[in-house]
């Protein structure tokens, strides 16, 4: 059979047309345990990132919701003194309501019944009849008009001047503290996502270096045959992208499944206690980008690691 050896192939002068879209893997990367474990690592990290990001989105939404809810209301409190008759106190409440309703920007003003005030204090003071004998302050709940503007300082000044013992609470202090607290949680969530990213990056670098070490001989042969660094990096990056997408999809599906489960469980609870799982429709697409971003990061990390390592070889 060797008699058929000829130089026809060598003298064949057909031009070689480039094919940019071909994907072929000359390196048996999946034989390397460190690379085989990559989808599991990416999957776990995407799951953690999805859950953390979902938490951050919910906290952010909650802060906005609470902030908006509180900015639409004011509370007038009128302290009761021991020598003040209930009739006199009731008159002050009516005066306060009248004053509020005359103020531009106020939509409604409603006195909270003494029973309701007592019910609010019951968890701390007990539900027995003694509460009724205490000089509890009267509360007036003021709702602001949606598009109205109110001069709170002027309202407070007029209220305190006209009605002795009255005060106005615009919840500013409580709201500021709450927003600061929620922003801190958001920042921590951001740091956690960043740490998850850095950990993923580090694992990918180690897995890629392991692959480079395991397949060093094959890489050398590819180089000697004329492969560019880009060609060899392409082998790693396409494998890393595929593994990243695979692991990321699994992690994302698990994460979103967990969130759906929690959201479903929350619907069976008192929504006043658990408004946490009120996902907005745009939250889901944001969460769905996590595996895509992760896969892209994995691909780019593998690529840069290989190119930097190859630069030191041959």
């Amino acid at each position: 059979m060797i008699n058929s050896i000829s130089t026809r192939a060598a003298s064949n002068s057909a031009p070689i047309a480039p094919n940019m879209f071909r994907v072929h893997r000359d390196l048996p990367l999946m034989r390397d345990p460190a690379i085989r474990i990559l989808p599991w690592i990416v999957g776990l990290m995407v799951y953690l990132a999805t859950m953390t990001l979902a938490g951050a989105l919910l906290v952010s939404g909650l802060a906005t919701q609470w902030s908006a809810g509180l900015t639409g209301t004011l509370t007038i409190y009128i302290a009761a003194t021991e020598d003040q008759t209930s009739h006199a106190l009731e008159t002050e409440v009516e005066n306060a309501i009248r004053l509020a309703l005359k103020t531009p920007g106020v939509a409604t003003a409603r006195a909270m019944p003494p029973d309701a005030v007592a019910a609010l204090l019951a968890p701390w003071l007990g539900a027995d009849a003694a509460i009724a004998e205490l000089p509890l302050p009267r509360i007036v709940d003021v709702r602001l008009a949606e598009d109205g503007e109110i001069d709170i300082a002027d309202f407070r000044r007029r209220l305190e001047a006209d009605i002795p013992g009255a005060g106005l609470d615009d919840h500013q202090l409580w709201r500021d503290r709450l927003v600061t607290f929620l922003r801190a949680i958001e920042a921590i969530a951001g740091v956690m996502v960043a740490l998850i990213g850095v950990t993923t990056l580090t694992m990918v670098v180690f897995a890629t270096r392991s692959g480079l070490a395991v397949h060093g001989d094959t890489i050398e042969i590819l180089h000697l045959i004329g492969a560019h660094d880009e060609y060899i990096a392409g082998q790693f990056q396409s494998q890393a992208l595929w593994l990243g997408l695979k692991g990321g999809a699994a992690g994302s599906a698990t994460g979103i499944g967990s969130l759906l489960g929690l959201a479903f469980a929350a619907t069976n609870l008192d929504s006043g206690l658990f408004p946490l799982f009120l996902f907005q429709p745009w939250h889901w697409p944001v969460l769905a980008t996590v595996p895509l971003i992760a896969a892209f990061i994995v691909r780019q990390t593998a690529r840069r690691t290989v190119l930097r390592a190859l630069d030191r070889m041959l």
């Binding site: 059979m1 060797i2 008699n3 058929s4 050896i5 000829s6 130089t7 026809r8 192939a9 060598a10 003298s11 064949n12 002068s13 057909a14 070689i16 047309a17 480039p18 094919n19 940019m20 071909r22 072929h24 000359d26 048996p28 034989r31 094959t218 042969i221 590819l222 180089h223 000697l224 045959i225 004329g226 492969a227 560019h228 660094d229 060609y231 630069d311 041959l314």
Partner: protein
């Protein structure tokens, strides 16, 4: 000569270019002009015979159809058309050598370096391989063969370089 190492000093010229100063990418391009037949073959066992031979074409960016045609043709010519899907590790030494030769010549190199290319084949096949190299030379490929088999190369009418005791001696062919 096949650019396995970067020269630390001096001047080494290949294809009229100083390989000590060329850029990394240009070095890869230059390697594509060089076909190398290694003494230990250096075939990739995780790839089939077909894929081993196709490697230089793939690296050069050839299309699938071109690769299929050229590789099948060349493997047929070296008598391995029934081993396309075999792993190199399952082939005999002589067959592996022919795969290595096919891989070295498929890219139509300007320079062919063969390190003991006849070391694993019998004399009859060795002669045929040298005829192949001679034909390549006639079509414009510079062929450099390193061998201990003086009797074999003595049968061909070409210049020789003899390495002996650290010295080098040029023996031009004289008819």
């Amino acid at each position: 000569m096949y650019l396995a190492h970067r020269p630390s000093r001096g001047v080494v010229k290949l294809f009229d270019r100083d390989v000590t100063t060329i850029q990394r990418k240009a070095r890869s391009e230059m390697r594509r002009k060089i076909g190398v037949i290694y003494q230990d073959f250096r075939l990739l066992d995780h790839l089939s015979v077909f894929d081993n031979v196709a490697l230089p074409l793939r690296i050069a960016g050839a299309g699938k159809n071109q690769i299929r045609t050229h590789v099948s043709e060349l493997l047929s010519w070296v008598g391995l058309d029934d081993c396309l899907d075999a792993s190199p590790s399952t082939l005999s030494g002589g067959e592996q050598q022919r795969v290595a030769i096919a891989r070295a010549v498929i890219g139509r190199p300007s320079l062919l370096l063969a390190d003991e290319p006849t070391g694993n084949v019998d004399d009859a096949i060795a002669v045929l391989l040298l005829y192949l190299f001679e034909e390549l030379n006639r079509t414009g490929t510079t062929v450099v063969i390193a061998t201990h088999n003086e009797a074999l190369v003595g049968r061909f009418k070409h210049d020789q370089l003899h390495l002996d005791q650290g010295g080098i001696e040029f023996r031009p062919y004289s008819a």
